[in-house]
Amino acid sequence: MTPHDWYVENRVAFVARALEASEERLFSDHLPRCEECRREVARLERDLGALPMAATPVAPRPGLTHHLADAILYRRVWWRRAGPAFAAAAAVILAVGFGMRERQQRSTLTSALTDRERELSALRDTLSIWRESQRVVQRDIAMGNHRGGLLIFDDPTTHRWNVVMHGLPAAPADSVYQFWFITRSGMVRSVELRCDANKPAFATLDMPKTPGPVMGAALTVEPAVNHSPEPHGLELAHVQF
């Protein structure tokens, strides 16, 4: 007797589910490895397919078949029934989401609008002065990747000079942007201008108290600790009035 004979002998018992639990496991493990047993078991099941019909039918209790159909189709029915509720819930979630996003956008836009109004107001002020100016000088300045400029115009009412430096990065470390007046008697140190690429520098300057007229102006980069009366650093702009 070979080990396989045991399986051959017990095919019927396996189909009948008459094997003990351990034997049934053994047989189940054997089936995927044995084409012959698999085929014979399938044949037995097919030949004996009608045998369970020997059981006497039992009339289902009222409503059972309906319940069975509902329970099996439940998932789809459930989805179908819950569809409108889900759609409504999704609409509410979307509305809340859009609402929150809208609110956030509105807040951002309001803040941006406030900034723009402030800038516009400053520009109006500048223009109101500029409109009366008799001398306006503009120079473009390049510093690395930055493109900016220096705008100088006089205020005939107050007899002052207005200086705007824009588009330039912050001054290099330990350096400052230094504004100079050019007079007949030489360069006169004026103010340090502080700006960065997003924030222009604006200064209203009195005429230098030197003999003779102001002939022009200059912008240089000077060491922060050096307060020499003469410019030594990089010259960014030089204008004649």
Partner: protein, 214 residues
């Protein structure tokens, strides 16, 4: 369950012609094809036709109506979910369902912590009852599939009484070799032999029976 109107045979016709027609309509796809096509109406038809047979089989094994209904539900759910993936498209639908139900019922029976008590109860009710009780309801012969039931019983009656007992305890009672041997007070080898001899005869007698659900 109400049988379809065409299932009731006209009085006076010979027995052979009184067999109910298979559960399919001429010119229409088979129930199996419609199930594969996710026809919900086909599922309802299958449930209507098969539930009494599944309940009878499973209730006979489990001796518990609620559990039997759960197993029947599991069976239909498996059928609905797997009908398209079952490899052998020629496999008859009803035997497939009955096999699923029977295996599920026996699995439950063996999982039960109180299964021994249940089988004792089954014994007190008469373990052979559901499978052997003569069917005497006058209108049940019109039940779809009843002719198969009668053919199977005819095949069972050809077996010697001792083989019938073993078959019923194993196949319809869910008992193992050792349990049957203990129940009948005979050696386990005798149980195995009787079961094998009985099934050899039954497979010859039952193989020609065609599925009544198409």
């Amino acid at each position: 369950m109400s049988p379809p109107p065409d299932a009731k045979p006209p009085l006076g016709e010979p027995a052979a012609s009184r067999r109910p027609a298979p559960l399919t309509l001429a010119g229409q796809s088979s129930l199996r094809d419609r199930l594969i096509a996710r026809d919900e109406r086909a599922l309802v038809e299958l449930i209507d036709a098969a539930t009494p047979w599944l309940l009878g089989l499973v209730q006979g094994i489990l001796q518990d109506q609620d559990e039997a209904e759960e197993v029947v539900l599991e069976t239909f759910r498996i059928a609905w979910d797997r009908i398209a993936t079952v490899g052998d498209e020629h496999e008859a639908l009803m035997p497939w369902l009955l096999r699923i139900a029977r295996n599920r019922a026996i699995d439950r029976l063996r999982r039960r912590a109180r299964w021994r008590r249940k089988t004792e109860r089954a014994e007190s009710l008469g373990a052979l009852g559901p499978a052997t009780a003569p069917f005497s309801e006058p209108d049940e012969s019109a039940h779809p599939g009843w002719h198969v039931h009668e053919s199977v019983h005819a095949a069972l009656r050809t077996l010697p009484e001792e083989q019938q007992k073993v078959v019923r305890l194993a196949y319809f009672g869910g008992l193992t070799h050792s349990e049957i041997a203990q129940r009948l007070g005979i050696p386990m080898g005798t149980v195995k032999t009787r079961l094998r001899l009985a099934f050899d005869k039954l497979r010859l007698a039952l193989a020609p029976i065609q599925d009544w659900v198409r």
